[in-house]
């Protein structure tokens, strides 16, 4: 593995191997003539302690272009974004917007230049209402007094423009699901009609329909002359929305192409520095495996009829459907963090789960989607984070065996290819996708028999994603039962043995075997909702 790990960090980076394929010089688009680019980052370097996050990285985006920035977890994408936004200072290099070199001392400077950024980690203020969050600095006033009525109306309009009419601008942001929070962030950034819009993994928590709406907005902004930079780990999206792309690896720019010039596989290989297998693991025939998990007379929403479902040992059941149809609620209920009624049987025996510790005792784990609030202790060391769910296993009469903990954490860091400086780094210093790996590692260490995944690959790069799919399939083959909710339909289709399509808290249709195709899942998602009226 050339890309990950800490090898080479701090030393001068070796020259890139000459690649055939996408690295060929003739495939590289000539840069727009100097001065004509809407946004240019020239030879940006940035170092955090022992980690060279960026090394003479270049980015050049033509006016009214949708430009994708690609790279593995920790490649430096978010760092570049934050530098462009003026959030963190650069060590070397310069940022040019509309032909002018910017002196970025704070985000205000980039905003003044017309740059709006949706950061990877959401930054809404949970206690405030949606309208407050959207308008914050520009709350409309009447006679010097803030007019919330007008603010709410303005917010409503902005939300409606994004097809988010169902969000009440008066409700507090706390408690809204992640995808809605993400859409609000996007609305906030686009409301100022920026000249350059930067979306750092803005689609990672969005489902298909929401992504479509976002892309519609991006296209119309582009047609009005806005330059858009998108960062994503979903390769399909690049080919859907982007005109050109820049690939980063280990903090350096390793390629710049128009979208038509390269294939997905070539780009993924360039990101990783090696060929990457992007084939979903084979789905074995499950045949007559016994039901390991049985749900009887379940009611997630009191006004809906009860339903039952069986999941076999070794099966990966996908939870599909439009967003907010009760998929997350089901998983949260099974983990003891949401209300619902019904009976849960594991291997035929009823189990009662009233809180997460009950679930964990029965061998059920839930990989949460909101890593900041639920998955991680951001300011505690990575090693502590990894060990958090399995402390008991490595302690003796309440005393933690430090050496065992160190060995365990080092092993997890190695196996999950967690890129860090030291295991004592605060989890907050890891890149977004790397943080997600820590969450996964922490829960996998419990060797669970039932796994509940809530959008587990959110923000994880392609190579790790496929590694993760293999791990999940291996766990299933070893007898684990998996329930997977994903906002990424491709993932549901590629990974799951069956897909339950949800509508208003009820799995209205279950697709299996050959039936599971991307089109069928999407069609069923809409069909069940329409059928329900």
């Amino acid at each position: 593995m050339g890309v990950v790990g800490v090898a080479g960090v701090g030393e001068p980076l070796p020259p890139l191997p000459q690649r055939s394929g996408p690295g060929r010089a003739d495939a590289v688009v000539p840069r727009p003539a100097p001065g004509s680019a809407a946004l240019e980052a020239r030879a940006i370097s940035k170092r955090f302690g022992g980690i060279q996050a960026l090394y003479r990285a270049d980015l050049s985006v033509a006016p009214a272009e949708v430009h994708a920035v690609l790279g593995e977890n920790g490649a430096g994408k978010s760092t570049l974004v934050k530098i462009v936004a003026g959030v963190i200072p650069l060590d070397e290099g310069e940022i040019v917007v509309g032909g002018e070199v910017l002196h970025l001392a704070s985000p205000r400077d980039s905003q003044a230049a017309g740059v709006a950024v949706v950061y990877q980690e959401l930054s809404l203020i949970p206690e405030l209402s949606v309208a407050h969050n959207l308008l914050l600095a520009k709350l409309p006033k009447r006679a010097g007094i803030i007019s919330m009525a007008r603010a709410n109306r303005l917010a409503e309009e902005a939300l409606a423009a994004l097809g988010l009419g169902y969000i009440d601008p008066r409700s507090p942001v706390r408690g809204l699901p992640l995808d809605q929070q993400q859409m609000i962030e996007i609305a906030k950034a686009t409301m100022v009609r920026p000249r350059v819009l930067v979306l750092d993994e803005a689609t990672s928590s969005l489902g298909g329909a929401e992504v479509e709406r976002l892309f519609g907005l991006v296209r119309s902004l582009r047609d009005q002359g806005t330059t858009v930079v998108v960062i994503t780990h979903r390769m399909g999206e690049v080919w859907t929305i982007a005109d050109a792309m820049t690939v980063l690896r280990d903090g350096r720019t390793v390629g710049r192409f128009p979208v038509g010039a390269v294939s997905q596989n070539e780009v993924v290989a360039l990101m990783a520095g090696q060929d990457v297998r992007t084939i979903f693991p084979e789905k074995p025939a499950l045949g007559a495996a016994r039901p390991a998990l049985e749900l009887r007379d379940v009611r997630l929403r009191p006004d809906r009829p009860p339903w039952s479902l069986q999941v076999r040992r070794g099966e990966i059941l996908g939870l599909g459907g439009l967003e907010g149809q009760g998929q997350r609620e089901l998983l949260a209920w099974l983990y003891g963090t949401a209300k619902g009624t019904g009976t849960v049987l594991m291997d035929g025996r009823p189990v009662r789960v009233r809180r997460p510790s009950d679930a964990l005792r029965h061998g059920i784990v839930l990989i949460p989607e909101d890593r900041k609030a639920e998955g991680l202790h951001l300011e505690l060391p990575v090693r502590w984070n990894l060990a958090m769910a399995t402390l008991r296993r490595r302690s003796h009469f309440g005393v933690i065996r430090m050496r065992a903990e160190r060995d365990f954490a080092d092993e997890a860091i190695r196996r999950l290819k967690i890129k860090l400086n030291s295991p004592f780094d605060a989890a907050s210093t890891l890149s977004g996708g790397t943080q997600q790996k820590v969450v996964i590692g922490k829960f996998m260490a419990r060797e669970p028999s039932v796994l509940l995944f809530v959008d587990p690959t959110r923000g994880i790069d392609v190579q790790t994603k496929f590694g993760f799919y293999e791990m999940v399939r291996d766990l299933a083959s070893a007898g684990a039962t998996c329930l997977l909710y994903s906002s990424d339909t491709e993932e549901l289709v590629g990974v799951c043995d069956r897909v339950a399509v949800f509508c208003d808290g009820v799995p209205a249709r279950v697709l299996q075997g050959e039936e599971i195709t991307q089109d069928a899942v999407v069609a069923a998602s809409f069909a069940v909702v329409e059928a329900a009226g």
Partner: protein, 350 residues
């Protein structure tokens, strides 16, 4: 691994507080004659020991994101019980056992209220303080009787110039530090302080840890009360009042975050030393001056924590950069159509 130790996170940070202790000692030695005489050092170290022991529980409770305001009257009740039970014929050992049990019990009730009934710690422990104030008054009828048992009084003396309380304190420092650093309980304390929800979701015994922490706080306050009764030979009502702010001040001066998740008892030890040194250097300022001192110190450290150590803690919600981004938002941004998005130059075909 190249370049270790650069961006280490340190839930435990001992350098700064102890550097300040040394600085204060040097300052005192320069300005005050006989400041470093062994007699004065002994008396300062004993004073530090009392407040240090009382603050054991406060350290743990603050670390997990709570607060214990019941310390004054747990301490006071402990003191009046110790002398009073002796006067009604109970043996010294028996009285001490009862006193510690009562402290533990009061802390346990605090813990159950906070952990099980979800009463905010501020309210729970303040209520407890008031209840115990009433109980102390009822028990003594307004005038405490009796004297502290002989062996408790002996603890306030020393051998070879080393106060016994300092030896006791040293033992407790080792025990508490071990518990915080090497045990599951300690790890849970840090985790809950750093992110309670995430702690629940990965199965840490959140409620149990809360209960144990508040119980320990009651226990350490009661022990402090007993020791103070031994020091003055008797007990009086109101003797705990002057220990509430100091119990918090020594913790935050040591650099433990008032919001939890960061800090350690070793730092509180430095805080106790520091405040004792400053206080003894400013002996003339009197009680009023000391109140001002403690109050300001808490406010200053709370602010200091906010801008330094807890800048990283804030990442639970906002990264540092995002806070700056947020500040940017508060500044008036040019309205769309004015200067941000002027009529565009026609896109230059590339």
């Amino acid at each position: 691994m190249s370049s270790r130790r650069r961006s280490y996170v340190r839930p435990v940070e001992v350098g700064t507080p102890y550097a300040l202790v040394v600085l204060a000692l040097v300052g005192g030695a320069i300005t005050i004659p006989r400041f470093l005489s062994s007699g004065h050092l002994d008396s300062m170290s004993a004073t530090a020991a009392y407040i240090g022991i009382i603050a054991i529980g406060q350290t743990i409770v603050l670390l997990l994101g709570g607060i214990d305001l019941s310390i004054p009257y747990v301490l006071n009740l402990a003191a009046v019980l110790l002398t009073g039970l002796g006067a009604s014929g109970l043996s010294g050992g028996g009285s001490l056992a009862v006193v510690l049990g009562v402290g533990l019990g009061a802390g346990l009730v605090n813990g159950l209220g906070v952990a099980v009934l979800d009463v905010p710690p501020l309210v729970m422990t303040l209520g407890m303080n008031s209840v115990l104030q009433g109980v102390s008054l009822m028990y003594t009828g307004g005038s405490p009787v009796g004297t502290a048992p002989g062996f408790v009084t002996t603890l306030s003396t020393g051998v070879d110039g080393i106060p016994y309380v300092d030896m006791l304190w040293a033992g407790l420092v080792v025990a508490v530090t071990f518990a915080l650093v090497f045990t599951r309980f300690g790890r849970s304390v840090y985790s809950i302080g750093a992110n309670r929800r995430a702690s629940e979701l990965c199965g840490l015994p959140v409620r149990r840890t809360l209960v144990v922490a508040y119980a320990l706080s009651g226990l350490s306050a009661a022990l402090g009360g007993a020791l103070l009764a031994g020091y003055s030979g008797q007990a009086y009502l109101g003797m705990g009042d002057n220990y509430l702010l100091p119990s918090i001040a020594v913790v935050v001066i040591g650099g433990t975050s008032i919001l939890g998740g960061k800090g350690s008892y070793v730092q509180t030890v430095a805080g106790a030393m520091l405040i004792t040194i400053i206080e003894s250097a400013l002996l003339t300022i009197g009680q009023a001056g000391q109140d001002v001192l403690y109050g300001s110190v808490i406010l200053f450290m709370a602010y200091f924590n906010q801008v330094t150590t807890s800048a990283s803690r804030q990442r639970a919600r906002l990264t540092w950069g995002e806070i700056k981004a947020f500040r940017g938002w508060l500044e008036p941004v040019p309205r769309p159509g004015e200067s941000v998005a002027p009529e565009r130059e026609p896109a230059v075909p590339s």
